[in-house]
Amino acid sequence: MFDYEVLRIIWWGLLVFLVCGFAVMDGFDLGIGMLLPFLGKTDDERRVIINTIGPTWEGNQTWLVTLGGITFGAWSIVYAVLFSGVYAGLLLLLFALFLRPVGFDYRSKVESPKWRSFWDWGLFVGGTVPAVVLSLAVGNLIVGLPFELDADLRSTYTGGLFDLFQLFPLLCVLVGVSLFLMHGAVYLHWKTESFIAERAQQVIRVSSILFVLLFLLAGVWVAFGIDGYRVTSAIDTSITANPLHKTVEKGAGLWLANYGTYPWLLLAPIITVIAALSAPFFTAKQHSATAFMLSSLAMMGAIVTAGGSMFPFMLPSSLSAVSSLTIWDASASHYTMKMLLAATIVFMPIVIAYTSWVYRIMRGKVTVEQIQENPHTLY
């Protein structure tokens, strides 16, 4: 039923789905981490903010872990080339993420204000650095990474941590951070009341406009400022292939070619802009759930826009265009893709079902009174 070509497209879709799952679910945790020291003025307020995500952030982070596992299994060479290439960036991401599990669990276990303030800033770093590194990674994927494959398909990477900070990727960082901030603030607005919710509303208003402007600017930049990539040799999409058996060219505006071939793809950026712009109106009217849906939609739209523009490329190489990885030559074997698809079809609906159940159990706003009544059981 599933031939190799179809499976590769499905698995590209599932990869996009997992990235979206991570961005929607853990995205607000990152955003709230960034906002924590600024939106919480007192210890109780900070505890309110922490407890809006305290019971659920761990499950959300699992989207990232699973994304790692799935990439390893379904797109091994992408996993290998990307992670070893951006070595320093990935370690920075990891070290920042280390602060989250311990930050959440340990912060309120000691009374000392110094201790608590230390972990508040730890959670801030644990939210900000991943948001920055991940957005930076997206930007660098779009411009291409300086790697090369030898005949044994061993990858060598030329470039260090600071080479990642070029202009376009830096713009992507601003796009990403403003989106994570908006998403976090929307969720916070949903889960809190009075002062904190009001402060969140201000963040939503500013970040939504900022995000849309930067997102559009990035679009213009992709059209005129940076090179895209295109496969120039015929590709047999249904056989096991070696990345080096193709030819690739680089050129201005090529990343927009897919919008000509598939005009409906334009819906992704359009939905992103509309959803991001309308979210603040719904939070203002206290339609928090709708606002969260819209903010999630903006998140997914932005990811689909980036992924769709690059399709079928997954990892273009700025150093040796022929080494670029596409969905046709970076995938796992036909059999592995089939097995993993079966596992995904069985387990992901179950995951989504019990995650929803957990959110239902933990529904409702977190208030300062709750914190004061349960100082030892809440985070």
Binding site: I77, L153, A332, S333, L340, T344
Partner: protein, 521 residues
């Protein structure tokens, strides 16, 4: 060209991060089940003290769990960052259990762990109990899949080499799932986790009993830990994974090095209780041997031989020579896929391709290896004896000591007299580190014993790393050591703080410090 230094540093980093991670995993595995048992008793009997027990040991569980998550993240990404050629070469197989682990197990444990802590007042008793069981199930399932992945490194089944894509590809998922090495590994490792959880609860409860604090609470905890711990330690020892050491050549090499069996003995082989292995003379000095025991343990028979290092090394020569032929024809095939002769020869010799790759450490072209280089490869084809010999004995010593402690605790519990046996309580408390020592040594036996391979007989360690510089590795190792050590110190500080407080930290008003009128929180 990747230098030996890069390979050694990559191995060091993996060892450091894995061994740190494994400080927390066994306790998570064991304690989550103990929590589920305690809460089940609470739900069945309705007695509040069992809920307090679940919540207090749950607090300690949480402190440990956070570190497990922190150090676990590294493991999911480190194959890509530091072992990228490995990831490309076997990701098609190795990545599958990791991906399934994420979807089936990680989500389960990390989604329900929050509910375990914050859901007490939001759910029915039965719903909360289910949450705790699902959490425990999630931790053990995640161990299942990671051990399936690990067992595949030790005994790679269900996969074949594809010269188009220059990598190994999966041919049978059920083969890797039902890998006999995976099954013994799973039982052995998970049971070792249950022992760790039990020893932790037993030792800390013993401390409270010694101090005459919260005696009712401590006696019940002690009782559960001694029963569960005895069952677990028996499983670890009886179903010890030595029985998996007859499957596959690398596993047999491990067994021979563990036993320092330099030369194959007549069946059933004797077991070297203790001695001093000497790599230069290939003998064990001052050895004390127990006749027949090794043969019985390893082969479960009296007439099967256990291969000695002499036999294993002799087989290597043949396989390395075959591997050179496989490698030579692979090079021809890569230039000309239609060359039927090369294809036929390659197919015939490809099981030994990995042995050909062993020579890459000594000569880039493999086929031009000199006899001296081949000798060197043969010599390096099994791990060194002394580290294996001592790690294994250390592990077994800890295991036997714990068996004694659990058996004694269980016995005096049956007589309702455990709280009066001060020698036993002291011994239990001071033995808390034992399961950790045993687990770390067990990791050394399993993983150092796999050398010189990352994937047994398929991919040598020195080819598996990423193309990184020594400088990058020095900084990342320093980063990990500093971060992990700082966090470990903080974790231990909190552990000690809450262990000292005991159930008084629950603020129910019923426990020792609260009755003393001292607020220690």
């Amino acid at each position: 060209m990747i230098t030996t230094e890069v390979v050694d540093l990559s191995r060091l980093q993996f060892a450091v991060t894995a061994m740190y991670h494994f400080l927390f995993v066994p306790l998570t595995l064991g304690l989550s089940f103990i929590l589920a048992i305690m809460e089940s008793i609470y739900v069945m009997t309705g007695r509040q003290i069992y809920k307090d027990m679940t919540r207090f040991w749950g607090k300690l569980f949480g402190i440990n769990f956070a570190m497990g998550v922190t150090t676990g993240l590294t493991m999911e990404f480190q194959f890509g960052t530091n072992w990228s050629y490995y990831s490309h070469y076997v990701g098609d197989i190795f990545g599958v259990p990791l991906a399934i682990e994420g979807m089936m197990a990680f989500f389960l444990e990390s989604t329900f762990v929050g509910l375990f802590f914050f859901g007490w007042d939001r759910m029915s008793k039965l719903q909360h109990l289910s949450t705790t069981w699902l959490l425990a199930l999630g931790t053990s399932l995640s161990a299942l899949w990671i051990l399936i992945a690990n067992a595949w490194m030790q005994n790679p089944v269900g996969a074949a080499f594809n010269y188009d894509t220059m990598r190994m590809e999966l041919t049978s998922l059920s083969d890797i799932f039902f890998n006999p090495v995976a099954q013994v590994k799973f039982v052995h490792t998970v049971a070792a986790g249950y022992v760790t959880g039990s020893m932790f609860v037993l030792g800390i409860s013993a401390l409270y009993l010694l101090k005459h604090r919260d005696v009712a609470f401590a006696r019940r905890s002690f009782r559960i830990a001694s029963g569960f711990g005895l069952a677990a330690v028996l499983s670890v020892i009886v179903l010890g994974d030595e029985s998996g050491y007859t499957v596959g050549e690398v596993q047999r090499a491990k067994l021979a090095t563990i036993e320092a069996e330099w030369e194959t003995e007549e069946a059933p082989a004797s077991f070297t209780l203790i001695g001093f292995p000497n790599e230069a003379t290939r003998t064990t000095d001052y050895a004390i041997k127990v006749p027949y025991l090794l043969g019985l343990i390893a082969t479960r028979s009296i007439d099967e031989k256990v291969d000695g290092l002499d036999v294993i090394r002799a087989r290597k020569r043949h396989r390395i020579e075959n591997g050179m032929i496989a490698y030579e024809n692979l090079q021809i095939l890569r230039g000309d896929k239609t060359n039927e002769i090369a294809k036929a020869i390659f197919e015939q010799h490809k099981v030994d391709l990995g042995h050909g790759l062993l020579l890459k450490k000594y000569t880039e072209n493999v086929v031009d290896a000199t006899p001296a280089q081949i000798e060197l490869a043969i010599k390096d084809s099994v791990p060194k004896v002394a580290p294996m010999f001592w790690s294994f004995r250390g592990m077994v010593f800890c295991g036997v000591l714990m068996l004694f402690i659990f058996a004694a605790s269980f016995y005096f519990n049956m007589k309702r007299d455990a709280h009066n046996q001060r020698w036993l309580l002291k011994l239990a408390f001071w033995s808390i580190p034992l399961p950790w020592i045993a687990s770390e040594l067990g990791w050394v036996v399993a993983e150092y014993g796999r050398q010189p391979w990352t994937i047994a007989n398929i991919l040598p360690t020195h080819l598996s790393t990423s193309s990184l510089s020594s400088g990058q590795l020095y900084s990342s190792i320093a980063g990990f050591v500093v971060m992990y050590t700082a966090l470990l110190v903080i974790e231990l500080f909190l552990m000690v703080k809450y262990i000292r407080l005991g159930p008084s930290s629950l603020h129910t008003g019923k426990y020792y410090f609260e009755k003393q009128g001292v607020d220690h929180v």
